[in-house]
């Protein structure tokens, strides 16, 4: 009997020939991700750090992205504490304010590779399945322990197989695919599970796979992963990582899954997740015409070049509605620069948008676009929980870059397919 991706990689890291769901293994991850929360993490273990030091200076990857540049003195003090820690312990992988969002940085810099394990003190760590890595979120305390010991336990999960067939229609994107899946599976449907994507995945770029894997946790998944194929290999080559630098792990054809789902991509429509749950997914025709006051285009879910290309095509020569603020949030400095070179940023600014520094921005409600009571935000981000953007009397709708761009022009939720027919 064959093994799933999760079974194979956990067996390898746990030095076992064969593992079964439920089995507990001690593993040493290749990297440990922390962001601004590195400050409270290292504060937990000051005496231990002094006495034992850190396990390995190449293990941690620290990216300042959550509240950047510092919004208040407290953030500034934490950032300073992190920079001092990086210096004192000679941390190898540190990315200061403005580099980008941690998940994008990890993938863009080849710190998550096929067949490796990355754990991170952020729930969207599951994103790196886009390049065939096993990656999963943990809390701050576990990150602190990992800094000291370099190892932790993982339970072998059940696996869910999602097969994607056919081709997407025009103006339907990877975001519509993952929102549709979450709508069907529900916010808890993949709890504790590893989610594998199969089928016609060759048509999805690494950027699109990133959007899909990023939202795995929104259905409860432990990790979400795509097979390593030519698309992955070519992407990694483009960032200077040759095939000899990694060993891909793909699931066996005869692996056992707890659940199997198949989607015909041709049937997927533009969809929107309505307040206050990511699994409250509706076809766009049911929410068309709802007025919005803020639009957010970007984040670790949809802040990459291909997302900006889609939006720029729609916004070129147009103006954002006078009652709407359109915020642009590039996922990294590199993407920001590439978008500048392609003239996309110019299109956004000429349309009346505001470009924010590469980071998490208003997505978690700390700064840069907090909402007021009664306001609605249409966002390409991954969460629409009540209070998420800093106000518990505001509403967040989640959608694709195409929907957000066209809706920003009209000031209300608009179907991008209608706009493009004009």
């Amino acid at each position: 009997m064959g093994m799933t991706f999760a079974e194979k990689i956990l067996a390898k890291y746990g030095s076992e020939k064969k593992v079964v769901p439920g089995q507990i293994l001690t593993i040493k991850p290749d990297h440990l991700l922390m962001h601004d929360n590195a400050a409270p993490i290292i504060s937990k273990i000051q005496p231990e750090l002094k006495e034992y030091g850190i396990f390995n200076r190449s293990l941690p990857v620290i990216v300042l992205d959550h509240v950047i540049p510092a919004a208040a003195e407290k953030n500034a003090v934490q950032h300073k504490q992190i920079r001092e820690f990086v210096k004192n312990y000679k941390i190898k992988h540190f990315f200061d304010v403005g580099s980008g969002i941690c998940h994008q940085i990890i993938v863009e810099n080849g710190l998550a590779l096929p067949g490796t394990i990355v754990l991170g003190s952020d729930s969207h760590t599951c994103s790196y399945g886009a390049v065939g890595a096993f990656s999963s979120g943990i809390d701050r305390t576990e990150a602190a322990a990992l800094l000291l010991t370099g190892e932790t336990w993982l339970k072998v999960p059940q696996s869910i197989k999602i097969t994607l067939k056919g081709q997407l229609q025009r103006m339907v994107t990877a975001k519509d695919v993952i929102l549709s899946v979450i709508g069907d599976v529900s916010a808890s449907g993949a709890d504790y599970c590893s989610v594998e994507f199969h089928g016609n995945v060759n048509r999805f770029s690494v950027e699109e796979r990133f959007t899909i894997a990023n939202m795995g946790v929104e259905m409860g998944a432990k990790n979400a992963v795509f097979p390593v194929d030519d698309v992955t290999i070519n992407y990694l080559k483009s960032i200077g990582i040759l095939k000899s630098k990694y060993t891909a792990i793909n699931p066996d054809d005869d692996a056992t899954y707890s659940r199997e789902l198949t989607y015909n991509l041709t049937m997927i429509e533009p969809v929107i997740a309505v307040p206050h749950g990511v699994d409250k997914v509706k076809p766009i025709k049911e929410v068309e015409g709802i007025e919005i006051q803020q639009c957010l285009l970007g984040t670790c879910t949809n802040g990459r070049l291909s997302d900006f290309q889609i939006a720029a095509k729609i916004l070129k020569g147009k103006m954002v509605h006078p009652y709407v603020r359109l915020l642009i949030l590039p996922a990294s400095r590199k993407i920001y620069l590439d978008a500048l070179k392609e003239g996309l940023i110019k299109i956004f600014i000429e349309a009346g948008a505001t470009v924010l520094p590469p980071g998490c921005g208003p997505c978690l409600g700390a700064h840069q676009g907090v909402l007021a009571p009664g306001e609605r935000c249409l966002s390409t981000s991954n969460r629409n929980f009540k209070g998420r953007m800093g106000c518990n009397e505001a509403e967040i709708y989640l959608a694709s870059p195409a929907i957000v761009a066209v809706s920003a022009i009209y000031g209300k939720i608009t179907d991008p397919r209608k706009e493009m027919r004009k």
Binding site: K44, S123, D139, T141, A187, S188, D191, A366
Partner: protein, 162 residues
Amino acid sequence: MKIWKYGDNINTDMLFPGKYTYTCSTAEEIRPHLLEDLDPLFAKNVKEGDLIFAGRNFGCGSSREQPVLGIKAAGIAAVVAESFARIFYRSSINQGLLLIECPEAVKAYKQGDRVGLDVEKGTIMIGSNTFSFQKLPKEILAIRDSGGLLPYTRERLRRKKK
């Protein structure tokens, strides 16, 4: 003992709003904001030994550990739910907070029912009915029983050094 009863998909933003994640880290800082957007009475009235009952997927969302830390520090003896989101579940082991996954008990509970907990036996009593819940595997139980992952890790490092 009071039972605080909530529904499905109680997420980390409801348990502890994201806007405070980088300004509140200690139990004292977290406490006043616990469940702020879900139940404003909770932080004011919660007492040592109270229980939380909830539906499916309790603690979904962020990797935020403040809700776990805060709920433990507020004296909640256990959270009983139909199911938990995995990062929250893991985090509770790391903080030494008792979570009980027992859909039958949650479904059976009616307001005013007497509730009894036997952690050793792995049973929960609701009114006149007793339900069993699965205990953690022993290697994981060792972490929770040490008072959480940091005390457990400290002890391991100390032994290793000797």
